[in-house]
Point group: C2
C-alpha cells in the first residue's frame, strides 16, 4: 500500500472521520482508523459502534492531490495518526506499508514508522439497504436537531429518552425529544413525499454530531433507514448511526391545546432576564425562579430568591399579556435552553395553571415548533 | 453609600481586581470584593493574600461616568457581584447601601438586593513604604516574566523555587528561575539606575498574573520593594505581591562558560521538529528524545522512539553546526518551552557533553538571555 496526498485536505477528512472515534472505548480495535486504498480512491473509516463515519477521497478530486501508488489497507491508531499528519513539515505526505503492518509516513525531512494492524480485523460497516431514500435540506435538518436535542434525556435510566423520536409521513419530518421534565417538537417539510412512513429513535448524541458535521453543507442530504441503522449521505461522506430499540412514549397528548394566560415577548429579552434571575436561583438549593403575570394591571414580573444571598426582581418588557392572573415557578435553565432555540424571534408563552406544563411557540409559526416545560411546585 | 457608574467601564475594573480573588480560599472574607466610595473616587480591592489588586476610579474620569451620591464602604461576594454587573440590562448601574449591609443594585428594570458584609472586616492592605521606586517598561517586564516563568518549579517541596529571583543592581534587572532540571535567566535595562541594590524572590504565579494585566500598558511601571512585599503601580492600579522568604540558591556557576559542540538554527523550525519527535516520546514511559550531531558530515538528526508505537527521525535544517560529535537525550517539553521563549529568533545551542547541561541563547544577543536544560541519561 502506498499513496501520496495533499496534507491540508487530508487533515480535513481525518477530522471528519475522527468525530466517530471515541477516545475511550471498550473495543480496542475502534481506537483505530481504517485506511483503504484502491486503484481509484482512498476510503477512511472511523467508528465508536454507535456512529460510523466513512469518507471517500477520489484520485481525480483536484484539491486532494491524491496519487495511489499501490492499493492496500491498514489500521492505524486514529488520534495518534491524525496528530502526526497535523504536525508534518511539508505540503504533501506519503504513507507506505511495505512489509507487515509497519506504516512509513514521510513528509519533507521527517519520517515516522508506526505500527499498524491488519485491516481485516476491523468490524464491517452496518448494512443499510434502505427501503427508501429521503432528501432533506441540511440547514433545516440542523435546525431540527438544534431545537430538539436540548430536551433529550441525559439519564441512562430510560435509554429510549436519550434519543430523538423521528417520524416521516407524507412530506413531513417530525422530531420529538423529552426528558420527562420538558419536551421539544419540531415539524419540517421534506423535499419529496416519503413512500413508506417511518418511525425511529435516533440517539441524541449521534444527531448532535451530525449537526456539527453538516454545518457547511449546501446540497440536500439523503436519509436511509434500515432495521436498526440510519444512514445520512452527504458530499463524499457516509454517516451511520445505530437506532435505539424500544417504543418511544406517546407524547401527542402532552401538549395542551388551550391556555388561560399568555405572554408574548422577544425571546432574547426574556432570555437575558432569565439569565439575571438565575444568578440568584443558582446560588440556592432549589434552582427555581418565579414568573408573576397580572394581565389586568398589564404586569409581568420575574423574580429569583436565594435565602442566603439575596433577591432579584425585574419587570418584563412584553408585547402582550392576557388571560388570568398567574404565579408560576420553573427551572430557569430549562427556560434558557428553550428560549435559545427560537433564535431571537418573538415567542408566545401559554399557560393553563401553576402546576400544568406550559408551552413556548414562535409567534410567527405556532403550528410547527413547540417547547414544553413542566413547572416546579413551590408550595 | 450610593454611586452610579457606566457598566462597561465598571466591568473592566471588576475583571482586573477579580484576578486577585481566588475561587477557593481558606479565608472566607477574601471571597469578597471591597468597594469604598469617598467624595472623589471609588476604590475596588481584591486579594487572595498572595496577590492584592486595588483599582481606583475617579469621579472626573470621563469614560467611567462615576457619580458618587453618598460615600461609604461595603464587602460584596466578588464573583457573584461581577456576574450580576455583567448581566444587567442597561448602560449604567446604581449601587446603594441604605441600611445595614444590604446592597441594592439597579439597572434598567432589574433590581438585585444582595447581602454584603461590613467593610471593616476586610484585611488591611500590605504596607509598602519602599526605599526606592524603580521604573521599568511594561513590554520589557512582560518579556522578562514570559521568558523566565517557564522554568519556575511547580513542586511545593522547595517553595523558594516556585518564585522568580529578581536582582536589581545599577541599571540592570536580572530575573532567574530554575526547577533544578532547567534554568532561565534574563537581564534587561531599567529606565534609571537603582539607588540601593535589591535581591528578592517573587512568586511565579504573581508575576504571571501581572504579565497578563499589563498586556495593554504603554507607560512605565513603578516597582517598589518593601520587607516582604513588592508593589507594582501602573495606570490607576496597584498590584501587590508577597515575597518568598528564604535564600534563593546560587545559580551563577550553573551556566557553562565554554562548549564543545554547537548548533545554530531557527527557533521555530527546531520547535516544530521537537513537536514531531515528542509525538513518539509522549507515547512512551520515558519522555525523552535524542539529538545526534555529526559536525564533520554536516549532520544534525532528531529522533524519538516508543517501543510499542514506532519511531520518528528527522534531519534538521540548521544554519551552522560545529565542534565534536555528540548524542544527547532530553525532555522535549523542556526544550519546547525554552524554544518558545525566543519568539522565532535564530537560536544557538551549546553543548559540552551528553550528561552536562546545555544552553540556548539568541544568536543576536548571547549575553542577556539564556535557557539551560539538563539532559537525560539514557545509557
Amino acid at each position: 500500500m502506498q499513496f501520496t496526498i495533499n496534507r491540508n485536505g487530508f487533515i480535513a477528512e481525518l477530522n471528519n472521520v475522527l468525530r466517530a472515534v471515541a477516545s475511550k472505548t471498550t473495543l480496542e480495535i475502534l481506537t483505530n482508523l481504517k485506511l483503504e486504498a484502491t486503484e481509484r480512491q482512498l476510503v477512511l473509516t472511523g467508528s465508536n459502534s454507535d456512529i460510523t463515519i466513512q469518507s471517500t477521497i477520489a484520485v481525480d478530486a483536484g484539491q486532494a492531490g491524491l496519487v495511489i501508488e499501490e492499493p492496500g489497507a491498514i489500521l492505524l491508531p486514529a488520534r495518534f495518526f491524525a496528530d502526526i499528519i497535523k504536525k508534518l513539515p511539508a505540503d504533501t505526505v506519503t504513507l507506505a506499508v511495505k512489509t507487515g503492518f509497519l506504516a512509513t509516513i514521510t513528509s519533507g525531512a521527517a519520517e515516522f514508522k508506526i505500527n499498524g494492524q491488519d485491516a481485516v480485523n476491523y468490524p464491517n460497516l452496518p448494512e443499510v439497504e434502505g427501503d427508501q431514500s429521503v432528501q432533506v435540506a441540511p440547514d433545516l435538518l440542523r435546525e431540527v436537531i438544534e431545537q430538539t436535542r436540548i430536551a433529550v434525556s441525559k439519564q441512562e435510566s430510560r435509554p429510549i429518552l436519550t434519543g430523538i423520536h423521528v417520524l416521516l409521513t407524507g412530506t413531513q419530518l417530525t422530531a420529538i425529544a423529552t426528558d420527562s421534565h420538558r419536551l421539544a417538537q419540531r415539524k419540517v417539510d421534506l423535499l419529496a413525499p416519503v413512500e413508506v412512513p417511518a418511525d425511529v429513535v435516533i440517539p441524541g448524541a449521534s444527531l448532535t454530531e451530525l449537526a456539527r458535521m453538516i454545518a457547511d453543507q449546501k446540497d440536500p442530504l439523503d436519509l436511509l433507514i434500515a432495521e436498526n441503522q440510519v444512514l445520512f449521505k452527504f458530499g463524499h461522506t457516509l454517516f451511520y448511526s445505530r437506532l435505539l430499540e424500544g417504543k418511544y412514549p406517546d407524547t401527542s397528548r402532552l401538549i395542551p391545546e388551550s391556555s388561560d394566560t399568555s405572554l408574548e415577548m422577544d425571546a432574547n429579552e426574556l432570555l437575558a432576564a432569565i439569565g439575571r434571575a438565575s444568578l440568584l436561583s443558582h446560588q440556592g438549593r432549589t434552582n427555581v425562579i418565579k414568573l408573576s403575570l397580572t394581565p389586568e394591571d398589564n404586569g409581568a414580573k420575574l423574580s429569583g430568591t436565594s435565602a442566603d444571598v439575596g433577591v432579584v426582581e425585574e419587570d418584563l418588557h412584553f408585547d402582550q399579556v392576557s388571560g388570568q392572573d398567574l404565579e408560576i415557578s420553573f427551572n430557569p435553565d430549562y427556560m434558557s435552553d428553550a428560549l435559545k432555540s427560537f433564535g431571537g424571534a418573538k415567542v408566545r408563552l401559554a399557560f393553563t395553571s401553576a402546576l400544568r406544563p406550559f408551552t413556548l411557540v414562535p409567534v410567527e409559526d405556532q403550528e410547527n415548533f413547540v417547547q414544553l416545560i413542566t413547572p416546579v411546585r413551590t408550595f
